[in-house]
């Protein structure tokens, strides 16, 4: 019997659990997958994210991450034509990236749909900006997706446990053969990781159903996500523009509220009529590279495999393909698995 314990119930944890169960349940007679977390939806970081698929503008230091981004986009795009897309929190959305000066095209321009530069008339709509892009991308709304993943996992008999894991050892002692650490920004509590930092964000969700496009502004002097952005979701619209590295405060603060509100209203004056639904803070789990690796842990006489996918702000983008790599690692654990063609 193989027991796989996934620690963390955000998008990475739950999609990893589903991926493993989907691919190995039929092969392994007794595979038990369990999810341990001290936070479940709607209290995870995933729930706060707007959920727009858009990587950073510059190429990742690990080229593998670009592949993961692409494979995640393609996977989600293949689900767009399904009647269940909206139930999963998935929808196509088009919109604008705005700059104060010309910039090179992003490496993901051929991954998204219909990428093009903005025309003069389009730029006239945004007097503070002089250059930009238009493209069609995807929204994967965190809360809806986590609910959907939870339903799929529950159907498959995967069990969820509300608990705060203090160490890998405690989980190994209970009989886990494989532990997958998907604890995101809090991974350092289980194993120190000086490269991992919180990228604190604060967002305001409003009711503005007349807005059908995302608008993301860029200010290279201030840095990524420190410039206003407006991202319509399946029901509500997310307003943001805060990125504070190293800030662990989970409470909303007024100066950040004002920064977001003023920046977004300047960008889109009709927001003055929008009703505020709520305001949240979350921690992007920022790291120079996604941590996806395998480690053999020895606790006394037992051996346990640990796996650590933890990544930066764009965890939505990477999760699906990261899981396939995990599975490749899992395959090597048991010689009996070598005959699998995945």
């Amino acid at each position: 019997m193989m027991r796989v314990v996934v620690i963390g119930a955000g998008v990475i944890g739950l999609s990893t659990a589903l991926c493993i169960h989907e691919r190995y349940r039929s092969v392994l007679q007794s595979l038990e997958v369990m999810v341990y977390a001290d936070r479940f939806t709607p209290l995870t970081t995933t729930d706060v994210a707007a959920g727009l698929w858009q990587p950073y503008l510059s190429e990742p230091s690990n080229p593998q991450e670009a592949n993961w981004n692409q494979q995640t986009f393609n996977y989600l795009l293949s689900l767009i034509g399904s009647p269940n897309a909206a139930n999963m929190g998935l929808a196509l959305v088009s919109g604008y990236n705005l700059f104060r000066e010309a910039v090179p095209d992003p490496y993901w321009k051929d991954i998204v749909l219909g990428f093009r530069k903005l025309t003069v008339r389009e730029l006239d709509m945004f007097p503070d900006y002089s250059y930009g892009w238009f493209n069609t991308s995807l929204i994967l709304e965190g809360r809806k997706y986590l609910q959907w993943l939870t339903e799929r996992l529950t159907e498959r008999g995967v069990k969820f446990f509300l608990r705060k894991v203090e160490s890998f050892q405690e989980v190994a002692r209970e009989g886990a053969d494989v532990i997958i650490n998907c604890t995101g920004v809090w991974a350092g509590a289980l194993q120190p990781d000086p490269l991992l930092q919180p990228g604190r964000g604060q967002i305001i969700k409003v009711d503005a159903p007349w807005l059908k496009h995302f608008i993301i502004t860029h200010d290279p002097e201030r840095g990524i996500y420190k410039s206003p952005y407006i991202i319509p979701g399946l029901q509500a619209t997310t307003l943001g523009g805060i990125f504070q590295l190293g800030n662990w405060s989970e409470t909303n603060n007024i100066p950040d509220h004002n920064t977001i509100w003023e920046g977004c209203c300047r960008l889109e004056p009709t927001l003055k009529d929008a009703k505020i639904i709520g305001e949240w803070s979350g921690f992007r789990p920022v790291r120079p590279q996604v941590r996806l690796e395998r480690e053999q842990l020895c606790f006394g006489s037992s051996n346990t495999e640990g796996m650590f996918p933890t990544q930066g702000s764009n965890q939505h983008l990477l999760h699906w393909q990261a899981d396939s790599l995990l599975l490749n690692h899992l395959r090597s654990l048991c010689p009996g698995w070598l005959y699998l063609n995945k």
């Binding site: 219909g114 093009r116 059908k212 399946l234």
Partner: protein, 346 residues
């Protein structure tokens, strides 16, 4: 009848759909020395303009030169574009929406006359077309949607703001307006069959579903114009039908099922749409828009009329451009009234 240059010219606008109200606003903006009264038996939300989705994707009128249609569309687009970029956009019910017009076979005209009026017009890429396996070609662009239930009240406020009057009354004959009014602007749509004796105007019945599906952010229009998905401020319009000569304003349940089925084929997530409401509108169709002056005469009575109706499926898309032209015609009538009659030489 003689008018001094300072006398107020009394103008009656018959009809309170998008044509009547926008013409009233244009006249009050552009023709000095007039009083305006809008007279109609129906007002928003009970006009044809309230049923229309209001997408700015214009039709082609066979009897009108293309350059003129393009000018009408451009004037309308520019007018609404200024509104959508202002803080008034939500009050006026004008939004920007992107999407696709898709074709089952390559069209002879790959680029329509209005391509450079809308924003970012281009052909769809192969990857974009994968979403529509039954279609082989398409246009991608960003355009505007102008919604009657918000836009008409917004126009009404403007009419009243310029001290125009709004009267609920059913007019059976244009002569009822004489001598209380000096000029009549006829924006009565299908009512012109009776009011103007126009046999060229006929209904093209359109049935639509207005549904809740807030995750749909793009419009999708089949090039035939028969099947479309138009996301709006607070609902998505699914359509439609084109039933010539059909005056029936009651929704047909079989047709509703069929519309939903055609739209779900293009956008499967619509199976999850909820709160479906059926609506019917009769497009006031004509080979060309009637935009002309007519001097009615009965004995010694004279009544100048400016006709402004017959836009068929292109009402919202063309309204401001044709209202501007109607206003120019009204101005001509006003000039004639203000020009002193030559004294007879005896």
């Amino acid at each position: 009848m003689s008018f001094g240059p300072m006398d107020t010219v009394r103008i009656a606008v018959v009809g309170a759909g998008v044509m009547g109200l926008s013409t009233a606003v244009c006249i009050s903006n552009m023709v000095p020395g007039c009083s305006i009264t809008v007279i109609s038996d129906k007002f928003t939300p009970e006009t044809t303009s309230d049923v229309a989705a209001g997408m700015l994707i214009p039709p082609t009128y066979p009897d009108t030169p293309i350059q003129k249609q393009k000018q009408w569309f451009k004037d309308t687009f520019d007018h609404l574009f200024a509104i959508v970029n202002s803080a008034e956009a939500e009050d006026a019910g004008v939004i920007m929406v992107s999407g696709w017009q898709i074709f089952r076979s390559i069209p002879t005209e790959e680029v329509p006359y209005w391509a450079d009026v809308v924003l970012g017009f281009r052909k769809m890429t192969k990857d974009e077309l994968k979403k529509f396996p039954q279609h082989v070609f398409g246009h991608a662009f960003t355009t505007l949607k102008c919604e009657g239930p918000a836009y008409l009240p917004w126009l009404q406020k403007r009419v009243k703001g310029s001290r125009g009057l709004i009267l609920t009354q059913r007019i059976e004959d244009l002569w009822e307006l004489h001598p209380s009014f000096d000029i009549v602007v006829n924006c009565s749509g299908l009512g012109s069959r009776q009011l103007a004796g126009d046999s060229k105007i006929f209904p093209v019945r359109g049935q639509v579903l207005k549904v809740q599906a807030p995750w749909v952010k793009h419009f999708i229009r089949d090039s035939s114009g028969l099947t479309y998905i138009y996301p709006g401020v607070s609902n998505v319009t699914l359509g439609g039908t084109r039933q010539k000569g059909d005056w029936n304003l009651s929704p047909d349940a079989e047709i509703s099922k069929e519309i939903l089925s055609r739209c779900c084929a293009l956008e499967p997530s619509l199976r999850g749409a909820y709160d479906l409401r059926e609506k019917v509108g009769l497009r006031p169709s004509r080979p060309g828009v009637r935009l002309e002056k007519e001097l009615l005469a009965q004995g010694s009575r004279r009544l100048p009329v400016v006709h402004h109706y017959g836009h068929g499926s292109g009402g919202i898309a063309m309204h401001w451009g044709t209202a501007l032209e109607a206003t120019r015609l009204v101005n001509e009538c006003v000039q004639v009234l203000r020009t002193p009659a030559p004294k007879s030489k005896l």
